[in-house]
Structures are given as structure tokens and as C-alpha cells.
């Protein structure tokens, strides 16, 4: 397919502007005027055709099943979009006086209340713009807490099953990661944790349920070990979808948590979302949260600035449009609905796991939470996870997360979410079973997939070894 630059209609203006009715030499001084602007000139229908064609080649949760493990690609209800488009929200400016944006401030205030309730925390900031950004904010809060106490703690414990963002966050915060092993059950190895937890440790970063989709059954003991040596417990809330309305991380003893509104709370995820990664903390950490927070006094909402705050982490108040969507979702479901969503997400995952078990190697054969991990260890004829993922595209599905978590060789991590019907789950399972048969009987069909997508099997090695990300027809 040609790029928009290659469709440049050199002999045609494509569009006729109204005649300029102001003297054009006065608006901008001559020396600041560009002589040419290298933007393609194309007629309106050609532009529409170009981008409509591109959009048809895209894949999203509005088109089909998207079981990307650890990403919670649930359906994003369209009512979220209606509410976010209300003029009272879209026509706001962040510099407006507080008296004229009380509605928006009320929404943010109430959203922090809901998130506090869901997580069992005492204070929430909505400012971070992504999960990893929330992690960083949380880690800086923890670091500031210890610095103020004069403690020189500099290590953070992270299980070997963790998301890659956890060690990245720790490093960006100027701290050092220490890896904690998983045991045979796929959860934190308590002996290894006890050995590594000492007076230099800021705390542990833990995802619960973890990236294998398993609930950390020893969580109370894990947090006790960390707290006993004066450390703090950070909950990576990536997998909140499995436990919201059922278990409150704050009640388990966690001191800090981040939420992914673009996962658990149905705001758009992927392709720049944009994301939103609020964090919640216990009372003793509240004063370190980014400024400003919103307080309510006599039915008036106002911004509050803490002098101990770690400072701003994002311009103004976070990705406000996403806060509106998450608020709408939570209000739409209510507390019973939130709980039901978590229960259905877990039920869907377990249903798929049990149906796939006779055909694929289930790495940890236990009741799972909202996702589970299978691997390619029993695939015949050298068919790999990568091949299976590519072949799934031919069936009209997005592939699951592959080769993660790192502790499982050839991992395929499947997270159906609660918004899929049993029919869809069955179709996906049937596709995987058929791929297993193909791997046995006609392995080349799998190894050379996909066959039906606009872009066929890409040469990942060539792409990585000979990186070329510039489009050079016009710059050469």
C-alpha cells in the first residue's frame, strides 16, 4: 500500500482556499515565512479513502476478541465516549477559575473516593498518565518517605515473574532491583524473600494476582516479612480486574497501589490511549502525593497543595478525559457490577483454561484468576509459540501475550476479560485446537502463517538488524 506521501498529486492543488482577505505580508514577518511546506497535497476523497483503508487494516476490541494477557483489553462501553464529549467537559480549560469548573472537580473528587474504596486506600492522586508513570510516582513517594526519616534504603524487591516496568521504575527512581524467586506453585518463594529482605530495602513491588494469573496465597506473610524489617509494600494494580470488589489490596497490607484505568476501568488501551495510572496510598503517605489534590469544604471543591508533595508528575490534573470515562464506567456498574465483572473475568479464564488443558501444556495447573499461561512445550514438528500466535491472526483473533512472563519458556498468556460471550471463547479455543491439529499434520501451514492478513509474516530479524524507521522519498 502506498503512503500518503506517495499519493501526492503534484499537478493538482487538491483543495481551493478562499482568497486571503488580509495583507499577507503583515501578519508574519518575511524572515519567519517558510518558502515551502513538504506536506502532501491530495484531494479530500483520496485522503478519506487512504485513511479509511488504513483503519480497515487495523484490529481492535471493537472488531474482535483481543485476549492479550496482562493488558485487560475489555470492551470500552460507548456511553463513556458520550459522557466524555459533553460540552461541560470538552470546553473546559485548565486555567479556568475553580468556581467555574466545580463539576469537573466534583467528578475527580468522587472518582478518587471510588478508587479509595475499591483499593482500600486512604488517598488517591489522579495525575499519572500511565501505569508505569503511576509506578514511578509511587516509588518516588516511598523514596521520599524514607529520605525524610533519614533512612538510606536503596533496594527494591521484585519477583522474577514481574512486569518489565517494575525494574524499569526502580532504576528510574535511582534505586536498585533485587529479584525474588518464584516457587514451584508460581508464587513468591518465602525463604528467598526472607533472605533478601533487610534494612536496606525500601520495599517490595508485587502484582497480585501475579503475571501467571495466580493469586499470591501467601500475600499476608509476604507483606508481614517486608513490614517487619521496616519496608513498604507496593501493589502493581495491573491485574486488579480479577479482584476488584472482592479483595482490597489496602486490607491485605499494601501501602501503595497504582490503578490502570485503561485496563480495569474500561478507558481506551493501546495506540496511545491515552492511559491513566492513578495511585492510592495509606494515610501516612498522603502528604507526599503530587500537587494539587482536591478537597471538599461546605459543598465547595478546591485544590489543595501539600508542602511535602513530591511535586507535579504531569501538567495540570492528569488525562482528564480518561477520568471521565472511568468515572462513567464505575457509576454505570455500581459496586455489585464491579464485583460481577471481576467474577466473570475469572470464570471466563478458568473456562478457557480447562477446555484447553487437554490440548496445550498448562504451565501451572491450578485455579487461575483473570488470566492463565500455556506454553509450546508439547507442540509437535518444531512449531513454536510465535507460529501459533501468527496463525491465530488468520482466524480473526488478536494473539495472546507471548513469551511473557519470562519465567515460562514459550509462554502464551491468555486473558479473555469479562466482556466476551461463551460463543467467542469457544471459537477461540476451537481455533487453538485446530492449530494444534495443523501443527501435527500440516506444520508448514502454521510455520508460515499468517496467510490472510494485509501484511504476511514479517522478517523480525531483518527489521531489528537493519533498522530503518525513516521514510526517505521526500528527504533524499
Amino acid at each position: 500500500m502506498k503512503t500518503i506521501f506517495e499519493k501526492w498529486q503534484r499537478d493538482d492543488n487538491g483543495f481551493t482556499f478562499a482568497k486571503l482577505d488580509v495583507p499577507d505580508n503583515e501578519a508574519v514577518p518575511e524572515k519567519f515565512l517558510r518558502k515551502s511546506l513538504e506536506l502532501p497535497i491530495i484531494s479530500e476523497p483520496e485522503v478519506i479513502r487512504h485513511y479509511t483503508t488504513l483503519s480497515k487494516r487495523n484490529f481492535g476490541v471493537d472488531l474482535g476478541f483481543y485476549p492479550l494477557g496482562s493488558c485487560t483489553m475489555k470492551y470500552n462501553p460507548k456511553i463513556n465516549e458520550d459522557v466524555a464529549r459533553l460540552a461541560g467537559f470538552t470546553e473546559l480549560h485548565p486555567y479556568m477559575p475553580q468556581s467555574s469548573c466545580q463539576g469537573a472537580m466534583q467528578l475527580m473528587y468522587e472518582l478518587t473516593d471510588y478508587l479509595k474504596e475499591i483499593a482500600g486506600m486512604d488517598a488517591v492522586t489522579l495525575q499519572p498518565a500511565a501505569g508505569s508513570h503511576g509506578e514511578f510516582t509511587g516509588m518516588m513517594v516511598m523514596k521520599n518517605y524514607f529520605q525524610e526519616k533519614g533512612a538510606s534504603r536503596n533496594k527494591v524487591l521484585i519477583p522474577d515473574s514481574a512486569h518489565g516496568t517494575n525494574p524499569a521504575t526502580v532504576t528510574m527512581s535511582g534505586l536498585t532491583c533485587v529479584q525474588v524467586k518464584s516457587n514451584q506453585k508460581g508464587t513468591v518463594d518465602l525463604d528467598d524473600l526472607r533472605n533478601k529482605m533487610d534494612k536496606d530495602v525500601v520495599g517490595i513491588m508485587l502484582t497480585n494476582p501475579n503475571t501467571l494469573g495466580l493469586f499470591e496465597e501467601d500475600i499476608l506473610e509476604v507483606i508481614r516479612i517486608v513490614h517487619d524489617k521496616g519496608g513498604l509494600a507496593y501493589c502493581d494494580g495491573a491485574n486488579l480486574n480479577a479482584i476488584m470488589g472482592l479483595v482490597r489490596p489496602g486490607d491485605l497490607g499494601f501501602d501503595v497501589i497504582h490503578f490502570n484505568l485503561h485496563k480495569s476501568f474500561s478507558t481506551p488501551h493501546g495506540c496511545g490511549g491515552p492511559g491513566a495510572g492513578p495511585i492510592g496510598v495509606k494515610e501516612f503517605l498522603k502528604r507526599y502525593l503530587p500537587n494539587p489534590s482536591i478537597e471538599k469544604e461546605d459543598e465547595i471543591y478546591r485544590f489543595f497543595y501539600s508542602k511535602d508533595s513530591i511535586g507535579k508528575v504531569k501538567a495540570f490534573y492528569g488525562n482528564f478525559g480518561m477520568l471521565v470515562r472511568a468515572y462513567t464506567y464505575i457509576r454505570g456498574l455500581g459496586s455489585d457490577g464491579i464485583r460481577l465483572a471481576a467474577e466473570r473475568a475469572v470464570l471466563n479464564a478458568n473456562y478457557m483454561k480447562e477446555r484447553l488443558k487437554p490440548h496445550y501444556h498448562l504451565t501451572y495447573d491450578r485455579i487461575c484468576q483473570h488470566e492463565f499461561v500455556i506454553d509450546d512445550s508439547n507442540m509437535p514438528n518444531g512449531v513454536t509459540t510465535n507460529d501459533i500466535a501468527k496463525r491465530l491472526l488468520d482466524f480473526g483473533f488478536h494473539a495472546p501475550t507471548v513469551y511473557f512472563p519470562l519465567i515460562v519458556q514459550g509462554a502464551m498468556m491468555i486473558e479473555p476479560t469479562e466482556t466476551e460471550t461463551k460463543e467467542t471463547l469457544d471459537q477461540f479455543i476451537d481455533a487453538l485446537i485446530q492449530i494444534k491439529h495443523e501443527a501435527e499434520n500440516e506444520p508448514d501451514k502454521v510455520k508460515n502463517a499468517p496467510w490472510t492478513t494485509p501484511v504476511k509474516r514479517v522478517d523480525a530479524v531483518k527489521a531489528a538488524r537493519e533498522v530503518d524507521i525513516t521514510y526517505c522519498t521526500i528527504c533524499s
Binding site: Y403, L406, Q409, A460, V461, A464, R465
Partner: protein, 130 residues
């Protein structure tokens, strides 16, 4: 699986060849197979002091990014610039043209803890059956 008998190994799948107080090291055939196609190798600077067991090289494949650990403590004497330009050498010839660095050994006693050919072979067989 190719495991030359004249080399020593580590549990992290590095090989090392010791001669006259220097150690040439790289990653094993098993390691390159696990990584799949290597696309980028980040080598340390010559003269860097390294400590046994600490990461000092990064190898990136289409599948993952992995640290390579120093097999012995000492000073980096030489790095294989050819590999930086052509990372595929790590896959094609891990024990030859795909070598990574040469270290001047500072503590001779450390060589005792390296794995022999037989011990490493057993380790790999164990991992394959996992």
C-alpha cells in the same frame, strides 16, 4: 548441542577459555539457541574493571534482552568489535567469531567454581527437560 570439551562454563550459559592469566568469554551454543536471532550486542569499554557474576554485556535478540555476566573478575582487555557490527556471529559461531570480550584475570582462585564440560552438559540437559 555443541559444547566444546576444552572450555569452562557457567550456570548462566557463558563459556570461557583461560590462557596465561587471560580469559576469553562468550555465550554458549545453548544460550544462542534460547535467545534466537541476536540483533544487538552492547559491549563494555576496554579498561573497565569487572566483578565476577555482575552483568556487563547486554545481548538483545528478537525475543528478549539479556544480561551477560562476568565469568571472572578482572579488567576488560579487548572487546570483539566485529560482533557489535554483525551480531549474527553470536548465532553462527558462538565459540569462535562470536566471542565477546577478553578479560585480564585478577583473582586466579575464581576459576575453581567454573563448570566443566560434563557438568555443563548435565545442566543443559536438565534445562531442556524442564
Amino acid at each position: 548441542m555443541n559444547i566444546p570439551e576444552n572450555l569452562k562454563y557457567t550456570e548462566e550459559h557463558e563459556w570461557v577459555k583461560i590462557e596465561d592469566g587471560t580469559a576469553v568469554m562468550g555465550i554458549t551454543d545453548f544460550a544462542q539457541k534460547m535467545l534466537t536471532d541476536v540483533v544487538f550486542v552492547e559491549l563494555p569499554e576496554v579498561g573497565k574493571q569487572v566483578e565476577k557474576g555482575k552483568p556487563f554485556i547486554v545481548v538483545e535478540s528478537v525475543k528478549s534482552v539479556s544480561d551477560v555476566f562476568a565469568v571472572l573478575s578482572g579488567e576488560v582487555m579487548e572487546v570483539n568489535e566485529t560482533v557489535a557490527d554483525d551480531p549474527a556471529l553470536v548465532n553462527q559461531d558462538p565459540y569462535g567469531k562470536g566471542w565477546l570480550v577478553k578479560i585480564k584475570i585478577s583473582s586466579v582462585g575464581e576459576t575453581d567454581s567454573l563448570l566443566t564440560h560434563d557438568a555443563y552438559l548435565k545442566l543443559c540437559e536438565g534445562e531442556e527437560n524442564k
